[in-house]
Structure formats: C-alpha cells, structure tokens
Amino acid sequence: MNADSFLIAGLGYYLTLPNLAFTAMGVFVGMIIGVLPGLGPMLAIILATPMVMKLQAVTAMSVLLGVYVGGACGGAISAILLKIPGTPINAATVFDGYPMKEKGESPRAIGLAITASAYGGAIGGIFLIFCTPLLAAVSMKFAPAEYFALALTGVICIVIVSQDSILKGSIMGVLGLLASTIGIDPFINVERFTFGSVYLMNGLNLVATVLGLYAMAEMIFQVQRGRLSDSPGIKGFLAPFSVLTEPFKQWKNLLGSSTIGTVIGALPGVGAVVAALVAYSAAKSCSSYPEKFGTGIPDGIIASEASNNACVGGSLIPTLTLALPGTAIAALMLAVLMLFGFLPGPDLFNNSPEMVGGLFLAYGISNIFLLILGLLFTPLFVSALNMKKQYLIPVIMLLCVVGAYGIETNITDVGVMVILGFLGYFLVRNGYPVAPFVLAQVLGNIIEYNFRRTLTLSGNDYSVFFTRPVTFGILIANIVAFTLILTPLLPWLKRRFFGGRNG
C-alpha cells in the first residue's frame, strides 16, 4: 500500500465531527499547558493519556497528537514574552523572540512562532505520510531477531537521552526494563515479581507509573520553586494576520529548518531541543546577514519553531514503522497505541491501514488547528501566563489523581501513583532522569518478547543474532554507538577510580 491508500482508508475512519472536535481540543489544551513554563508537552500528554483511554483509538490518538503539536508550539509564547522557554525545545526561540519583544514587536513574534510551527509541522507531516509506508515496507521483511536488535537500539537511545549522567540514565533504563517484567510472563504462565498481588499480575500500570514518577514528582518540585502567587500581569493581544504569509517569504529557511527537524526527529534519542538549535545555526550560517541573528529578526524564530514542530512528525516515523520511539513522548504515544491493541510495525500497516491513515490525517489537521486556534486565541494563550501556580498546581494534582483512578476505575492505581511520586521525587532530586525509565518500560516487553521468540525459533541457538545480516548490522551499529557514548565514561572511570592514586 502507498501513502494515498492509507490516507483514503483513514478518511472515513478519522474524518468525523467528534474526532475533529477532540483534535481541536487537544491542540488547545496542549497550547495552554505548553505556554506555562516548566510544564510542556510531556506533562500535557501524561495528563491527557488516562482521560482518553475510554475513547475510540483514533479519537484518543488524535487528542494526544493535538496535545503534542500544541504543546511543542505553546512554549514559544513564554520564550518570547518572559525570556523563559515554556519547554527546552523552545530555547532557540528566545534568541530572537525576546529581542523582538523588546522592540515592541511581541504580536508579530508570537504570530510568526505559531505560523512557522504550523507550516513546519505540515512539512513534517508530508515527510511522515510519504516516508512511513516506505520504511514499513522494509520492516515487513524483519523477523523477531531484527526487532530485538532494533529495540536494543532504543535502549542505546535511552543512554543518549540521559547524556547528563550516563550511569544514572542507564540505571533508570534498566529499572524501566525490570518494571516491564512485572506480571504474568508472556510465554509461560508464571508470575514474576507479583508477590501474590492480583493487581500486579497485569503488570505495573504504565500510565499510573508515568503520572507518579513524572507528573506528581514535578508538582512537588513546582511548589519548592516558590513564586506561587506571582503573576507577570501580561495583557492579551492579537497577532497580526500578515504573519500568515511571512514565513513563505523565507521559504528556503522554512523548508530547510523543517527538513532538519524531521530528520533529527526521526533519529532516536536526539529530539526537538537539538533540532531547533541545529536549524537555528543552519539558518544563521546560510543567511546573507548572520550578524543580525540574535538581535530580533524573524528568521531565527522561523528556524527554531518550524524545526521543533517538524520534529513531532519525524519522531512518529520510527515509532509507527519500527516500534522504535526515540523520545519519552513518542514512547508514551507508542504505549497508548499498544494499549488500544495496535502493535506498531508491519502488523499495523497490514491489518489497520485505516488507523495509519487516521494518524496521518490527525497529525496534519492538528497543524491546521494550530494555525487557526493559535492565531484566533492568542490573547487567551498570552493571558494564560498570568495563571498563578497556587491554583494551577492543585488542579494538575487533581487531574493526576482522577486520571490514575479513571484508567481502570481502580484506587490501587492511585496508590501506585502516589508511591511512585514519592520515589520519583528522590530519584530526580539525586540526578536520576525519568525519561529513560519510561522509554525502557515501553520497550521492555518488545525486547524480551522478540529475544525469547528468536531463541525459541532457533532452538536456543544464540548464533542466530550473528548469522542474520540485518540483525548483525544493527547490533554492530549498536556496539559502535555504545562505544562512542561510553567514550566520555572511560576517562571518568579512570579519573574516579585510578586518578587519585596516580596523581
């Protein structure tokens, strides 16, 4: 099947009034949460996940895609107005966005950020629609051994994600893999780490885990960060509609930055922060007036925002075709898709083309809604910055508790969330990142299932991993990547354990 067939299959499945309304709602909520510094698309998606579990799969996924798209753009508003990016992915927007605000061009700067995000996202969507079926066709030739090797690539990405502390990131990754083993064994009817608990037989609920480790722990930190009753007192304003065409006047910048965003987004473990910075640097070096970058010119905003929203589309390419999420957000999207009974990879493309088409359409339409809602409701999004944390934090905590309860209507999920929130606080406080845990918990089942299936099919012959060319190639690439990542670790080990004695 080609891209057209998927889109046609998805038309009837996705294009209904409720689905469109839910997509718009997702974009709106994503924008609001993205605007607020320190929250961002990850928290928005975590909060939205339990709420959408009772909806139809395509509706739920369209809400989450809307939240992802809206959240990635929303942070630009605080980056421009407060010089504080709502999320790290909007950090490069500060360089030219804030100086534009200083010049009294806030409405234009915010309008540009929204339009560039929507156009960049649309270009990322075109890549998604045309590249995904091609990659899926390749992945259809894969056997469990290749999937094991690919999922292992995901584990390497876990280490890359946690480049601040490789050791602690790796520990969290292994803990995530261990968390995925809790429950009934997928091959043999044996309980693992359940301690006789009926609740644990189904495994550790991923949504409750993420709500606790990430959202609850974050709320404790938010209270400790103070400024609970602060409000910047910014008045809302409308963006001029002239910004609709302005990014097209810089079509090379727009196209180049979006392409960079898509390609980097598709690389596991790299992410939108790097994409935005690379696109900003590329736009600067290709510009005929590089010295003006950082002084408040639209070029910088276009490069940064187009690339970080295109990154969303790029990150979905390996997630849908290879079940290989490169970021914690993509991992969460993958997990939700799996909870609805869709296994990303060839099965999804063969058995559920309407779902694939629905996802393509949902992503494309999210960007259209971003453009419309973003420009129409700019005053509201700007005013959201005035929201006081003393009201916002309890409401988010309420959504966490109700969300955890709502997944299975089970109070035990809430208990698990609270306990993990407590543990998450101490882990994050001591420098253990949460993202690798999430990625690993999702990838854990895929790794173990394919590892054991490969061995069962080969009669427990481990040489199967070295005799299949694709598997061997991926494993070698993993080893090379791991060695490269480990390189800074080796001097650290030497310095720590032998440096003192050798002076």
Binding site: M51, I171, F187
Partner: protein, 169 residues
C-alpha cells in the same frame, strides 16, 4: 545530610539489584524449569537485568561515596526563587509546604472513595489553594466548586470515565 541521602539512594539500588537476582533464581526459576516447547526460562531476562543493574548500581554507589552529591535540581530551584524566599528558612518553609501538599494529595486519593468525588475534590482544592498561599475566599469556595464540577462534567459526560460516588455520603 545530602551526601547521606545520595548514598542511601545508591545503596537502595544495589539492594534492589540483589533482590532481583535472588528473586529470579529462587522464586521464578523453579517454576519454569520445564517448558513444553523449549522456551527460554522466564527468570533469564530479569536475571540478566538484575546482574547489569548490580554492576551499574555498585559503580554508582562507589561514585556516591567518593564524590559530592548531585545538587543540580536543588541549585536550579534555589536559582528560580525570588530574593525573599532564598534564605534557608524560606527554602525550608517551601519544602515543608511541598510535602504538606503531597500529603494532602494522598489524603484526597484515599478519601475519594469514601466521600465521593465532589466533596473530596472541593475539600482538596480549597485546602490546597489555602496551603499554597491563596487567601482569596472566592477562589477558596466558589472557585473550588466550579473547578470540581467542570472536571466532573468533562470526565463523566465527555470522556465517559467513572468517578467515585462515595460510601459515607
């Protein structure tokens, strides 16, 4: 104190790794010694992970014992605080407030099944707003009730989720 905390966290990870290895060998492995189709033992994957975790956690413990604790999160918090809250007593007050808020959230989670969603939520929101410094009586009363009813409408009528009705009231 922070050094002790970072060492305790690292030591607990080592203990967890040992527990995983022991549990895999003692509890899981005997149940799966015989499999019909020659599948790999269900304890093998957790065992491998347990060993990897043990190696990493031991290195991490060694690191925690020999170096200063990772205070980046606390430094970021301190940097974000306004001048009047940056003193030791100001920071302590915020930490106590954050844990009181966490306890309140735990209490809310427990009480929800007994009091029902509406009453438990109104109480939780009012108490939290007050705890976090709000003295706006309109927000403490009508605001809490309005948010509660909105959330209930969205969850039950739009998203078809079931919320607890309570057993006491």
């Amino acid at each position: 104190m922070r050094k002790v905390e970072s060492v305790v966290v690292a030591a607990l990870l080592v203990a967890l790794a040992v527990f995983v290895i022991v549990e895999s060998r003692v509890s899981i492995a005997p149940k799966t010694a015989y499999t019909v189709y020659g599948e790999k033992d269900a304890s093998e994957f957790p065992l491998i992970l347990g060993i990897i975790l043990l190696i990493m956690a031991a290195l991490n413990l060694f690191h925690a014992l020999r170096s200063a604790p990772d205070t980046r999160e606390e430094d970021a918090i301190r940097a974000s605080l306004p001048e009047h809250e940056r003193s030791p007593s100001g920071i302590r007050a915020l930490v106590i407030r954050s844990w009181a808020f966490f306890a309140l959230a735990g209490l809310f989670a427990v009480s929800m099944e007994y009091l029902g969603f509406v009453i438990a939520t109104v109480l939780f929101l009012s108490a939290s707003f007050f705890l976090l410094g709000s003295r706006n009586w309109l927000m403490l009363t009508a605001g809490s009730l309005g948010i509660t009813l909105t959330v209930q409408f969205v969850f039950t009528d739009v998203l078809n989720l079931i919320l607890p009705r309570g057993v006491i009231i």
